[in-house]
């Protein structure tokens, strides 16, 4: 292949594959995103869950890469993560499961995981593998934005992987602006000071926070996560933000139903 051809191919890949998150965010409708732990409830359920979620009308999926010590997660997600590890999930197993995912699935796919497993796989290798498979972005709660900007941003950009950062009600405006400047996809708004899955319904303080962020007119759209569990909380959140992410509530659904009735779960929300 000539240099020019490689260049064209790279551009091609960038626009046809790597831009799925941005393309989706440009659509006028609100985004409903679902998180689940890869390899849960059973090791080989991953692909079927992704396919069923897309068929049910989900806009984006966060695939959880299980970790032994998930600091930012509450009991529901940690338990699913522990079970997934017990089932035999590893970084390599996940990549193997997902290798043909783009033959059947076209919505944006994001891997959410803690930094240590990625560090052990090699950050560059990890990003390269994601690009090969067609993973569009990563969410790494314990990789701070300043470390990312200094050490890893170039690698992510080289492989066309969007890195998504979190903000919380305690994040200072100046820092939100910095996170917005480093981001190129969406900002993950944590709905309250909490780990995942630890609340029900949004009070006036949270709605004020949603509005405050909306009024900042950030360049990146915001997607709200933590505490979204049903139609009501989804509607509340998307009144102010581009979309919302459901995690623990869907994990609980998987625990109770296995891979059955995914469409019913989604239809109850939207």
């Amino acid at each position: 292949m000539t240099k020019k051809e490689i260049g064209e191919l790279t551009t091609n890949i960038y626009f046809t594959i790597m831009n799925r998150i941005n393309q989706k965010l440009q659509e006028t409708k609100k985004i409903l995103s679902i998180y689940f732990s890869a390899g849960y409830p059973k090791l080989n359920d991953t692909v079927q869950i992704i396919q069923d979620l897309e068929k049910s009308g989900i806009d984006m999926i966060e695939i959880g890469l299980p970790f032994s010590d998930p600091l930012a997660d509450g009991p529901t997600i940690q338990a699913s993560s522990t079970q997934a590890l017990h089932n035999g999930m590893t970084t390599q197993v996940l990549f193997d499961q997902l290798k043909d995912i783009r033959k059947t699935v076209s919505i944006p796919l994001v891997i959410m995981g803690y930094f240590n497993p990625m560090l052990q796989y090699g950050v560059e290798n990890f990003c390269q593998k994601c690009a090969e498979i067609g993973i569009d972005g990563l969410i790494i709660p314990d990789l701070p934005v300043d470390v990312y900007a200094e050490q890893y941003k170039e690698i992510f950009e080289k492989h066309g992987i969007i890195n998504v950062f979190l903000i919380t009600p305690q994040t200072a405006d100046e820092r939100i602006r910095f996170i917005d400047s480093v981001s190129d996809g969406f900002i993950y708004m944590v709905s309250s000071a909490s780990v995942t899955g630890s609340q029900s319904g949004f009070g006036s303080a949270q709605q004020a926070y949603f509005k405050r962020i909306a009024d900042m007119n950030l360049k990146n759209p915001q997607v709200i996560g933590f505490g979204i569990s049903n139609k009501e909380t989804f509607n509340q959140a998307t009144q102010f933000a581009k979309g919302a992410i459901i995690g623990s509530a869907f994990i609980t659904h998987l625990t109770e139903n296995g891979t059955a009735k995914i469409e019913e779960f989604v239809k109850a929300i939207r």
Binding site: L71, L166, Q170, A193
Partner: protein, 393 residues
């Protein structure tokens, strides 16, 4: 080469603050204030007064005559076992509770493994009249009933960590989650030189009173401030950090770090992090830690609950990687035998953690004029049941 933390929170390549954004405001508040507050003369005065009158400092530097004869060197024991609550841990909790008060915090949380840090935290919370919640692995709660009772007597609430392996690392995870859920009024007292910056540096500074006293005491007894060797056990590494602190830049001082080999470094039941660990992230810090090839943190083993942590503080990771400190690992059996040996030779029953440090005497040769300081980090009362079971006493 510097062995102290740099302005970004790193020791060489180790350290930093790899924390979720939810923790950023809390950790940043601490980072911006800890040096300012602890340098304040009124803070220093209150800290020093409590260390003297409440903890019982300075702790003696005891010349161990019989040990010295046997090992043909001048062996001194730094008697941290004589601190109130039975170990060096309280030096740090006094410092942090004073800091928490100055930051206006009302609620204190802590993690504990064997319960020593939990007891030291519950103690200072009682002293200051602050609410105290200690997270402890469900399995450890069963193994360490006397310390659980102590914490309760001191007015603390002991909350079981039910997640993961239900031991120290999970208790730490639960404490961090509590902090995420209570970001405004709560202060997290970490018990060792681990966690995100500034904790490793802050805890090392509070524990550095150990080496500060050693210097003054050696000058009086030997006419020189520096020993030839300073030896300490390392789990997370807080007693070691304190014992090494003022000798880090003194090239003539040999620093010896003693890790728990458990049933043997290659047995699969070990806590020898320097030998078995790889660079990774644990509890917000980049350091050496025991993990699977896939990056999942593994459960270490040592008969001593205070040494079975899967990581090591970033300062120690740097001392290891740079070769500044020599790391030696000691098995359960060696340590237990030394617990008995020290009891019979010097009339001191050591904590099993501290007994590991003494066991290196068998692995080294000294010159008769060598001055060797061993940090006797804690007393053995808490370990009596383990000693009883092990030796069928």
């Amino acid at each position: 080469m510097s062995f102290h933390v740099n302005e970004k929170g790193y020791y060489g390549e180790f350290g930093g603050a790899y924390i979720p954004e939810m923790l950023y405001p809390n950790v940043e508040e601490l980072r911006q204030n800890y040096l300012k507050i602890t340098a304040d003369p009124s803070f220093q005065a209150e800290f020093d007064a409590l260390l003297q009158d409440y903890v019982g400092r300075p702790t003696p530097l005891y010349f161990a005559e019989r040990l010295s004869q046997k090992y043909n060197a001048k062996i001194y024991l730094k008697r941290e076992d004589l601190c109130h609550t039975g170990a060096h841990k309280v030096n740090n909790t006094i410092g942090q509770i004073l800091l928490a008060k100055r930051l206006g915090k009302k609620r204190i949380i802590a993690e504990t493994g064997a319960g020593q840090h939990g007891v030291a935290t519950a103690t200072v919370c009682a002293l200051m009249g602050l609410e105290c919640i200690v997270y402890m692995g469900e399995i450890d709660i069963r193994r360490q009933a006397p310390n659980v009772a102590r914490m309760k007597m001191l007015g603390a609430e002991v909350r079981p960590a039910l997640s993961g392996s239900k031991t120290l690392k999970d208790a730490t995870n639960e404490a961090i989650r509590d902090w995420i859920n209570n970001p405004v009024d709560t202060y997290y007292i970490i018990g060792s030189v681990v966690g995100p910056h500034p904790y490793p540096d802050m805890v090392a500074r509070f524990q550095s009173v150990i080496s500060k006293e050693i210097k003054a005491q050696l000058l009086e007894k030997e006419g020189r401030e520096n020993p030839d060797y300073v030896i300490a056990c390392v789990g997370g590494g807080s007693n070691a950090a304190g014992a090494y602190y003022h000798f880090l830049d003194e090239k003539d001082v040999n620093i010896i770090a003693v890790e728990a080999a458990g049933l043997g470094v290659d047995s699969g039941e070990s806590a020898a992090t320097s030998a078995l660990g790889k660079v990774g992230i644990i509890h917000g810090s980049k350091t050496l830690l025991m993990q699977t090839p896939d990056g999942q943190i593994t459960e270490p083993y040592s008969i001593s609950a205070g040494l079975d942590y899967p990581g090591v503080g970033p300062m120690h990771a740097h001392l290891f990687a740079s070769g500044r400190a020599q790391f030696i690992s000691i098995t359960d059996a060696q340590a237990m035998n030394w617990g008995l040996e020290l009891s019979k030779m010097e009339g001191i029953i050591p904590a099993i953690e501290s007994a590991h440090a003494f066991a290196v005497l068998d692995e080294m040769t000294f010159n008769p004029e060598d001055v060797v300081v061993i940090n006797l980090s804690g007393r053995g009362d808490k370990d009596l049941n383990t000693y009883i079971d092990y030796f069928k006493l």
